[in-house]
């Protein structure tokens, strides 16, 4: 079309326009990034051929010939969506040229197919990268200092040192070793007795037995589980607040992790359970034990979903992928969400292959008991609920009956109100007439308020008051007649509601309803009781007016339906939606036939209707009635399209009214007469308790018996069974690539399967359900070169203070290279040989001479390798906040060693549980945790930042927590060491630091505790000198840092 053989004059002119006005601009401003010659083509867009413009890039076609306003190119030039060229906006005249050119059809002589921009990743080359190579057990290197190594780990470490001209530090002392090992494995300090026993054990296996003892401790899992919880970004809530339901059983995942470490669950199973415990073959009771493992994903962040739910859902998938890949693979696959990973061999398609697995899964709360128990519980619950509701309903149902039973008294109340017009006490008048004074008071208020405005009560405004106040004087006939008429009016309205009006009574009722007033009006309709049934006698009426008012509080969310609106004739029922209306007036939009005002299904109180009228307050629909109409029936109510709109929907309220003549009372905002007298809040309203007392004796007895039965059942009823927050399979389906991460712009299909760099160029697609089972098998596989490496590196990291790869969750191009690549491979293979036993790995590492080095610096070491990358000494480490807090509690003698169960609040005074049991919030992290570098649980974390700031020290010197520990510690010293100051100080050092004090330390301590407080010191100080001394020890660097 664009390349005609014989260019017309018009086309010729356009070609000229292109050559003079368009092409030079493209060449000058765009080709650098958008042509075949570009070093790196941006956004997948080529502008150097006609086809390139039409095909477009990641954001779709650049131009739509003939439609400049729909052309992305123009948006970009106008700096609307993109801002192109990035160096500066082009002059308006140039943009107009482009608009003109596109409007004229975008004539473009640059033939040739659009070059393909996509650079495909060469997986073959990519797999040469060190971390994608399968780990091989390397030859153990020769070392010069053959006396030092205790095993192969040490030979690798020493060889690297020797290569750098470094030598190992001396061995740590036994005192240092037991402290280091106990904190490393349990996160707690050794007790003085444990230290003594170890020092006394002179056997060559003393340390190995110590390690074995520590690995048997149930506190081991609390320490090592917590490291994993950082990776799992474990939390029980969400960062935002809108419509969040807390994961109240989230702690079951924490307890599962602790237990998994304690029972030394092999690492491959540890991983598989967290991905697919629900799908792996295992016995039912075992499944119930392992199911909480799925909290790894089931407790993931959930984001705010309202207007842009698609993006929020995509963001949640991103969390799952990020946590999966960084946690188990040490890869930052999230980078491939918007485009192929810029550094690692992960195409965007692979990202969506994984995303498809999680979009095929769903969040689920799973029972941790056999199905029979669940059913027993549910049945009991249902039964309780039914009974409870039945009791309520029985009482509430009797409400109208009780209230309406007052009808015969209406006339007497009205006469009594008249008596009160000349003063007198309500109580006295009520008593004299044998009436309820509360009801009488309400009748009096009703008439006072409405006799001027409400046509049905207007007569009462003109009745003269009695000459004098009297409870007994005779009532004039006019008053008696007016009272009787209103009573009759109400009686007929009641009959109309019940559908028992005779023809004569219907005529009589219409006589009583003043012209232009509603024949029927609903009460105020709200979300709680969103519907009212209508069944009205219309015999003889010529018009039907359907009115919805906003009930006086504004129109917001007042979506109202006249559902199943129909006329009853002798021939049968005629849906109103088949009749043509005479007129409609509505504040908002139009009235919709058989649809709600927003065009959706009519739906009131959860029930859908096929026929009816959808409207919005305030509206007025008028019909001319055909001959022979007898009745009008409908369900009037608030539509879900309004009531589901959050707070606005909760507050929506309307009133429905039906007229047979043009309304004159639309200014009335109060409810109809019937509701005002007999309604739940009407004149005869009684509360539930009163109501029950007004019931017949037999009914009251029945109720009592039912309540007792309910109470008995409640007590016998099984407690709620345990649950876990997990993921389960949903509807399995592949996703399409979201081009540039935009859910609205979908590209090629991404079959659910594993990452190609790890699984081969054409990995098999996952066919079973979501594919999680196959994913688990692929990840936790010896064939996966990253699986073992990533975990041994994490274990190494926690024992030595940094990983052999110092970016434990990034083994990709931008990650760090291992300092000891052969050692890492050796450990990876060794881990597999040890049956993926984490405890066995601890033994390997802790029994090495490398780990048992002293932390002392040497000048030579500092000169060559100040960072200690080559491990010529042990790193001195700061205790993490959990160990530090637990140690404070342990030393002060207050640590509560109870394990597991629901989370505790660290801010609670007297919370002495281990820190691993603290509630971890994504919304607002506990102050102490936050201060001391606990990671943000919104994202997976594999290393903690370690900051030293004065705010931390404010906590140390001033917080009630520290002062409490100081008091308790001082009290413990007194009770365990008695009155001798020296003995107390020695005990203090043994407890706090695992050693006895030196002479100078002892002297400093004695001087401090024995000094007298001056008046200046005493003033405002409630801690005694021992307590202040105790605080100093707890606040010290030695307490916080581990050699």
């Amino acid at each position: 079309m664009l390349q005609a053989d014989e260019p017309s004059a018009d086309r010729q002119a356009q070609l000229e326009f292109f050559e003079t006005r368009i092409r030079p601009v493209l060449v000058q401003h765009c080709y650098q990034c958008h042509s075949a010659e570009s070093k790196s083509v941006k956004g997948g867009l080529l502008l150097d051929s006609a086809a390139g413009l039409l095909t477009g890039g990641d954001s779709g076609p650049a131009i739509v010939p003939g439609r400049s306003t729909e052309s992305v190119l123009i948006h970009a030039l106008n700096y609307d969506s993109f801002q192109m060229p990035p160096t500066g906006r082009l002059p308006a005249a140039v943009v107009r040229d482009f608009e003109q050119w596109i409007e004229a059809g975008a004539v473009d002589p640059r033939t040739g197919p659009a070059a393909t921009v996509k650079k495909s990743i060469d997986f073959g080359t990519a797999r040469q990268f060190w971390s994608f190579q399968p780990p091989q057990k390397p030859a153990v290197p020769e070392v010069r200092n053959s006396a030092w190594p205790r095993g192969d780990i040490d030979r690798f470490v020493l060889a690297a040192m020797e290569q750098q001209g470094l030598g190992p530090a001396p061995a740590a002392t036994k005192t240092e070793l037991i402290r280091r090992a106990t904190f490393d494995l349990l996160g707690l300090p050794p007790t003085p007795a444990e230290v003594d026993a170890f020092l006394a054990d002179e056997s060559p296996d003393a340390f190995a037995s110590l390690v074995d003892r520590l690995l048997q401790s149930p506190h081991y899992g609390e320490r090592w589980g917590r490291y994993w919880l950082d990776v799992a970004r474990y939390s029980e809530d969400q960062a935002h607040t809108f419509a969040v339901s807390p994961n109240t059983s989230g702690w079951r995942y924490r307890d599962w992790v602790v237990s998994a470490f304690n029972r030394d669950l092999p690492y491959d199973r540890f991983v598989k359970y967290q991905i697919a415990a629900d799908l792996l073959p295992m016995a039912e009771d075992q499944r119930l034990t392992e199911l909480p493992a799925l909290g790894y994903f089931g407790l993931g962040p959930q984001y705010y979903k309202n207007t842009d739910a698609a993006k929020a859902a995509a963001d949640e998938l991103d969390d799952r992928i990020d946590t999966l890949c960084r946690g188990f693979l040490g890869l930052t696959v999230s980078c491939a969400r918007c485009h192929d990973h810029k550094f690692d061999p992960v195409p965007a398609q692979d990202y969506y292959s994984l995303a498809g697995i999680f979009s095929s899964s769903r969040l689920h709360t799973a029972p941790l008991v056999p199905q029979t128990e669940v059913e027993a519980y549910n049945q009991a619950q249902t039964r309780l609920k039914e009974l409870d509701e039945a009791i309520r309903k029985r009482i509430a149902d009797s409400g109208p009956q009780v209230r309406e039973s007052q009808l015969p008294q209406v006339s007497a109340y009205l006469q009594a109100v008249w008596r009160l017009r000349s003063g007198g006490s309500v109580d006295a008048v009520a008593q004299a007439a044998g009436l309820n004074s509360q009801f009488l008071k309400r009748w009096q208020e009703l008439l006072q308020k409405q006799q001027e405005t409400n046509p049905a009560l207007r007569k009462w405004a003109s009745l003269a008051a009695p000459a004098e106040s009297s409870a007994t004087a005779e009532i004039p006939a006019t008053v008696v007649a007016a009272a009787a008429e209103l009573q009759q009016h109400l009686q007929l309205l009641l009959k109309q509601k019940q559908g028992t009006l005779t023809a004569e009574e219907a005529t009589e009722l219409r006589r009583l309803v003043p012209a232009g007033n509603a024949l029927w009006a609903s009460g105020i309709i709200r979300k709680a009781q969103p519907a009212a049934d209508i069944d009205l006698d219309l015999a003889g009426a010529a018009e039907l007016h359907l009115v919805v008012t906003n009930a006086g509080d504004g129109d917001s969310c007042d979506h109202a339906d006249w559902a199943e609106a129909r006329l009853v004739t002798e021939q049968g029922e005629l849906p109103l939606s088949e009749l043509k209306w005479r007129s409609v007036t509505a504040t908002y939009g139009s009235v919709n036939l058989n649809r709600n005002v927003q065009g959706g299904r009519l739906k009131i109180g959860g029930r859908e209707f096929r026929h009816g009228l959808g409207t919005h307050a305030t509206s007025h629909i008028v019909y001319d009635l055909p001959q022979g109409v007898q009745r009008f029936r409908a369900v009037a109510g608030l539509d879900h399209s309004g009531t589901d709109q959050g707070g606005c929907g909760e507050a929506a309220s309307v009133q429905f009214r039906v007229y047979t003549q043009a309304p004159t009372d639309l200014n009335l905002t109060q409810s109809d007469l019937l509701t005002q007298v007999f309604g739940e809040q009407g004149v005869f309203a009684v509360d539930l308790q009163q109501l029950e007392q007004l019931l017949p004796a037999q009914q009251q007895q029945d109720l009592k018996a039912a309540r007792e039965e309910l109470e008995r059942l409640r007590k016998a009823h099984p407690a709620m069974y345990a649950v876990a927050h997990i993921i389960a399979d949903g509807s399995p389906a592949d996703m399409k690539v979201f081009v540039r991460g935009n859910p609205a712009n979908q590209g090629e299909v991404a079959p659910r399967r594993f990452l190609r760099v790890l699984a081969g160029d054409q990995p098999p697609a996952y066919q079973q359900g979501s594919g999680r089972l196959q994913l688990a098998e692929d990840i936790a596989s010896p064939q996966n070169p990253l699986f073992s490496r990533v975990m041994v590196n994490r274990i190494w990291q926690q024992h030595f203070g940094r990983g052999l790869v110092s970016t434990p969750d990034n083994f990709g191009t931008l990650g760090e290279r291992p300092t000891h690549p052969e050692l890492l491979d050796w450990l990876a293979v060794r881990f597999e040989e040890l049956g993926w036993s984490v405890k066995a790995m601890h033994r390997e590492l802790l029994l090495s001479a490398a780990w048992q080095q002293s932390s002392l610096q040497t000048e030579a070491g500092m000169a060559i390798d100040a960072d200690n990358r080559y491990l010529w000494r042990m790193n001195r480490r700061r205790l993490d906040v959990e160990s530090w807090r637990d140690a404070l509690l342990a030393v002060s003698g207050r640590l509560d060693r109870q394990q597991g169960g629901p989370s505790t609040n660290l801010a609670d005074d007297g919370n002495n549980r281990r820190t691993v049991y603290a509630f971890v919030s994504r919304h607002e992290l506990d102050n102490m945790l936050r201060l001391f570098d606990f990671p943000d649980a919104n994202i997976t974390a594999s290393t903690r930042s370690e900051t030293t700031v004065p705010q931390q020290q404010l906590f140390v010197i001033n917080s009630p927590f520290m002062l409490n520990q100081a008091r308790a510690f001082a009290a413990r010293l007194q009770s365990e060491a008695g009155d001798d100051a020296g003995a107390r100080i020695v005990l203090a050092f043994r407890l706090a630091f695992g050693r006895v004090p030196t002479d100078d330390e002892l002297q400093l301590g004695l001087a401090f505790v024995s000094a007298e407080d001056s008046a200046e010191l005493r003033d405002g100080t409630s801690l005694n000198r021992w307590e202040r001394y105790a605080q100093i020890l707890l606040a010290s660097n030695e307490f916080m840092y581990l050699d």
Partner: protein
Amino acid sequence: MNTIQAQLAGLAAGYSRRDLLQRFGTGLGALGLAGLLAPQCAAGAESAGGPLSPKQPMFPARAKRVIHLFMNGGPSQVDTFDPKPALDKYHGQRPSGADLKTERRTGGLLKSPFKFSKHGQSGLEISEIFPQLGTCADDLCVIRSMHTNIPNHEPSLLMMTSGETQPTRPSMGSWLLYGLGTENQNLPGFVVLCPGKPVVGPALWGNRFLPGIYQGAQINNSNINPQTVIRDINNGQVSRSAQREQLDLLKRMNELHLSRRGGQDNPLEARIQSLEMAFRMQTEAQEVFDLAQESKTTIDAYGGGEFAKGCLAARRLVERGVRMVQVFYGNGQPWDDHENIPAHADKARAVDQPIAALIRDLKERGLLEDTLILWGGEFGRTPVSEGSNGRDHNNHGFSVWLAGGGVKGGMAYGATDEFGFAAQENKVHVHDLHATMLHLMGIDHEKLTYRYSGRDFRLTDVHGRVVSDILA
């Protein structure tokens, strides 16, 4: 002690210069790392080390500190700073542009219940609900062409504070602390004043993947008691002199401990310093929140109420070198007038005098020229009505204003359409606003990066453009 080493120690004990270079990537370049590694003397003895110590900007800064007056809930532009006479003319009608997607159902155009008039030499048009602010018109740079992504509070609050609609990114205050540190080591560098919690809550001043020390410190300004306003700033059980005695012994013991470890260890030394800093911090931090130290004239100028106290505290904080102060209008989402736009007048009354006083006060003290004030909500409101008298959320167009450090005064930049639905001319996205604010602080928004999860993250993600037209 060696200052360079101490600073390093403070940031990441156990990490060396080489580690830091790798951790923070080349993106930090001249800024963050140079600041981390170069000795700083600006704050005298207090600056000895620490990740919060002041750092040089990338290029000369026009502003040194930020005060963000956050009108949470979303003030309506057409009733405040973006007059639309067409609304009076077409009141009740529903033009085609009204079909832009917002949160809820809307009706016809709703004229503003308020009158606009011109103020100052510039003739900037401001609604009558801000009479005092009108007198500061020549200092204000109103951006009338703001837009953001989503018409719901939570995502938009997060976008305004962190440049992302989910709670996954550090807040602007955290980025500023990370990039520039703070000038007063005895005070938190990023302070958030709110009488309780706004919607979303702490994620609005969160640090996310940046170190925890960069998180905003929330201060409840409903009742500012200097003794309790900062957690653990006071020790009710040990007097100051008794505490001094404790710290003297602690220091002796820590030094003994250090000397037995060769006398050199960065983290150990840093903590010894840090304890001393904390001791001194107690005095200064209590002093700054003692608003009673102000003269009666000043207190009267700001007027009464929580927001006024917040503004006064903000001035005292920035005066002492705090990098960023955010003052929330109130708890929840108070400007969210879905049902009743005239209620905007009540809220305006609560902020008009304090803000005008703040601008004048900063000016008199010579602080306005390098303090950047941002006023605005998370989005605007629809020119069409919700219910009979309210307005729905509107992300397509809204107004904010800047004042002070490096922006043109008496200016209205950009424009919405005839009715005020959507930004049309010189559109400014929140990312652009962030880029511009960072620019004024001497930071290239594309170069202030933090490597996390394999990517170099920025406040502006992959967006943002400096709005150079509004730079003075």
